[in-house]
């Protein structure tokens, strides 16, 4: 497939569709996966997002523009999917074993529990958390992506972190993990 013509002079030509898919599929798929916590639903959602890109390829100005567009569409499609299917986590949070000892880095049980907890958050806070910790966006970028006031983004981050800390069990209690919640809140601010 040949590279598409870039309508904007002086910018890098837009890569072809296949290159855009390869470059962004991990990002789009992971947003959907972390949102829905369901691999097949995530693959379907990610495919729909790329088909939408294929239809809108003429509007893309650069690879970076396409990546930003894909991130935005992936998040909004995931929210829509959750609303349509009234998605609830397939395994209740109560079923996930609570860690009884401070978690080691890369602990698969803790990792899975955190994924479930994130997937159990309400729609908007879930999207905020995924953009913050998967995409490493700062609150301003998250606000721009979701079309949400900055204050709301910060509030979602704070509340979600408090909730995650409480529900993740002893792994992150101050005694066990020597965590300082105020440090985290300061980071959000």
């Amino acid at each position: 497939m040949a590279a598409a013509t870039n309508p904007v002079m002086g910018r890098e030509p837009l890569p072809d569709f296949a290159s855009l898919v390869r470059a962004n599929q991990a990002m789009v798929f992971s947003i959907a996966l972390h949102y829905a916590h369901d691999r097949s639903a995530a693959e379907e959602l990610a495919q729909d997002v790329f088909l939408q890109l294929h239809r809108s390829l003429g509007d893309m100005q650069s690879a970076e523009h396409a990546a930003r567009w894909l991130r935005k569409v992936a998040v909004h499609r995931s929210i829509d999917h959750a609303r349509r299917s009234r998605f609830r986590p397939q395994v209740g949070l109560e079923d996930a074993p609570e860690p009884v000892t401070p978690a080691a880095a890369g602990d698969p049980m803790l990792t899975e529990r955190l994924r479930r907890l994130v997937a159990s958050l309400p729609e908007k806070p879930r999207a905020v958390m995924i953009l913050r910790y998967q995409e490493d966006l700062d609150p301003e970028e998250i606000a721009a992506t979701l079309g949400m006031p900055l204050r709301t983004v910060k509030s979602h981050l704070q509340r979600s972190l408090v909730m995650l800390r409480e529900k993740a069990g002893r792994a992150f209690t101050p005694a066990a993990g020597r965590q300082n919640l105020s440090t985290e809140m300061g980071e959000v601010e």
């Binding site: 569709f17 296949a18 898919v21 390869r22 599929q25 991990a26 990002m27 798929f29 992971s30 996966l33 972390h34 995530a42 693959e43 990610a46 495919q47 790329f50 088909l51 294929h54 239809r55 978690a103 880095a105 890369g106 803790l110 990792t111 899975e112 955190l114 994924r115 994130v118 958390m129 995924i130 910790y133 998967q134 490493d136 972190l161 995650l164 800390r165 993740a168 792994a171 992150f172 993990g177 965590q179 300082n180 440090t183 985290e184 980071e187």
Partner: protein
């Protein structure tokens, strides 16, 4: 950076769906292009619009010609009726004159 931050980054790290996914998306995109409605193809859309404009123009021209002919027909009919009326009155005049001449004899 807190441990919870690290753990969240680890839990939410990106995962590649694999090359099968890429192939599936490209196949679906090719299929979608094949199934694209004729109205979504720009060249065909312009050609259709041009053909439609031509048909409308030709139809309009035919209708104009038909109306012109109809108008000329109506005019000709009016002229014929007038000519017949004139001819009728002339015949009446001639008949009256003949009758008077016969009466004078």
């Amino acid at each position: 950076m807190s441990r919870l931050d690290d753990a969240l980054r680890e839990a939410l790290r990106t995962q590649d769906p694999g090359p099968e996914f890429t192939a599936r998306v490209l196949t679906a995109a090719a299929g979608a292009r094949g199934k694209q409605s004729w109205w979504q193809l720009p060249r065909l859309r312009w050609a259709t619009a041009a053909a439609l404009a031509c048909v409308l123009l030709a139809g309009g021209s035919l209708e104009y010609r038909r109306e012109q002919e109809e108008r000329q027909g109506r005019l000709a009919k009016q002229q014929l009726v007038l000519a017949l009326r004139i001819a009728g009155s002339k015949l009446n005049l001639a008949r009256d004159r003949i009758q008077r001449l016969n009466a004078g004899d």
